[in-house]
């Protein structure tokens, strides 16, 4: 059972190195990848705030703010 919360996903472009891990492994396909490799949150409504993108970002570029 997934409890849905209101979540805001921020990507710090200054830190992101465009590795693609966040978007590739988001279980909910919340991201799509911009031309220049920077991930974009394009389906925030699907986010389960599982934190995997955040935790797996090698560059501390993603912050998940849960507004419950």
């Amino acid at each position: 059972m997934i409890i849905k919360e209101n979540v805001q996903i921020k990507i710090d472009e200054r830190l992101c190195k465009r590795c693609g891990i966040c978007s590739e492994f988001c279980p909910q396909n919340v991201f799509s990848v911009r031309n220049d490799g920077i991930p974009q949150v394009t389906a925030p409504e699907n986010c389960t705030s599982c934190h995997l993108c955040d935790w797996r970002c090698p560059d501390f570029a993603i912050t998940l703010e849960v507004i419950s």
């Binding site: 200054r14 830190l15 190195k17 465009r18 590795c19 693609g20 891990i21 590739e24 492994f25 995997l52 935790w55 797996r56 970002c57 090698p58 560059d59 501390f60």
Partner: protein, 277 residues
């Protein structure tokens, strides 16, 4: 309960870090800072002792006390730190080169001594920092900058080595398995005695490029596929096993740590000795 968040353990002044795009080091560091926070520790309680290497550069980004020493000696410094102040939580961050190649001796002796330290070994199958030469964990036949046609030496199983040498807690995982990674780190740090968590994460820039795939994403998929829990691993055929590695906690025991033994023995009546020597 937790008074600190993972960011309190992260020194953000030096970000972006030096690691290549998609390098697992950043993920392990994240797991480390989260583990510390979740354990309710404060930065001042913790000493992070790092080796020299890509992963060894992580001290640049931690907000705990830190000691970045010479290559391969992290456990020896850490041993001194722990005995110099046994109240501290001392964690060593070492690459496979640091931990079991040049530093192999300190590794097995720390395990034998069962000194109360945690070793987070990032096994990227090569020397990232110096350009992808083979290390003591590079698998047989792999291509690296010093084994252009393939490595003639098999790699160590770091966990078996730690177990045989006497560690109290031994586990293996990967950055793909981020939740278990964080939890294993918490167990390891909490455990009294010597704890080892091996994190397998092939260096995409060198090892990955020559042996798996240059893309970080591909390397993460590889980890997802190759790292299997004990139960599943045991059901595999030998051939399948050779194509995978097992993840999870393999040793979890409570042999008294060095300092406890030392205090116990030295509280014996000194006169007991008289005449015996």
């Amino acid at each position: 309960m937790t008074t600190h968040t993972h960011k309190d353990f992260l020194d953000q002044r030096h970000l972006p870090h030096i690691w290549c795009p998609g390098c697992g080091d950043g993920i392990v560091l994240r797991a480390y800072t989260m583990a510390l926070a979740e354990l309710g520790l404060a930065p001042k309680d913790v000493v992070t002792v790092t080796g020299i290497g890509c992963w060894g550069k992580s001290d640049d980004y931690v907000a705990t006390h830190a000691l970045h020493g010479t290559h391969g000696r992290a456990l020896a410094y850490a041993t001194g730190v722990k005995l110099g102040n046994p109240d501290l939580t001392v964690v060593t961050l070492m690459g496979d080169g640091d931990a079991v190649t040049i530093g192999g001796n300190h590794f097995i002796h720390a395990a034998r001594r069962n000194i109360d330290l945690t070793a987070i070994v990032v096994n990227n199958y090569n020397y990232g920092m110096t350009g992808g030469q083979y290390s003591a964990t590079t698998p047989l036949n792999s291509k690296t900058t010093t084994s252009p046609l393939g490595n003639a030496e098999p790699g160590f199983d770091i966990c078996s080595l730690a177990e045989t040498a006497g560690a109290n807690f031994v586990a293996r995982t990967t950055p793909y398995h981020i939740v278990s990674l964080k939890n294993l780190l918490k167990q390891a740090i909490t455990k009294k005695g010597f704890s080892v968590v091996e994190v397998i994460t092939p260096c995409p820039t060198y090892f990955g490029r020559y042996n798996i795939n240059p893309s970080p994403v591909a390397n993460m998929h590889w980890l997802k596929e190759k790292g299997v829990p004990v139960a599943k691993y045991q059901q595999m055929t030998e051939e399948e096993q050779a194509q995978h590695f097992v993840i999870g906690a393999f040793v979890n025991k409570d042999r008294p740590d060095f300092y406890t033994m030392y205090q116990q023995i030295n509280s014996r009546n000194g006169t007991e000795r008289e005449g015996e020597r």
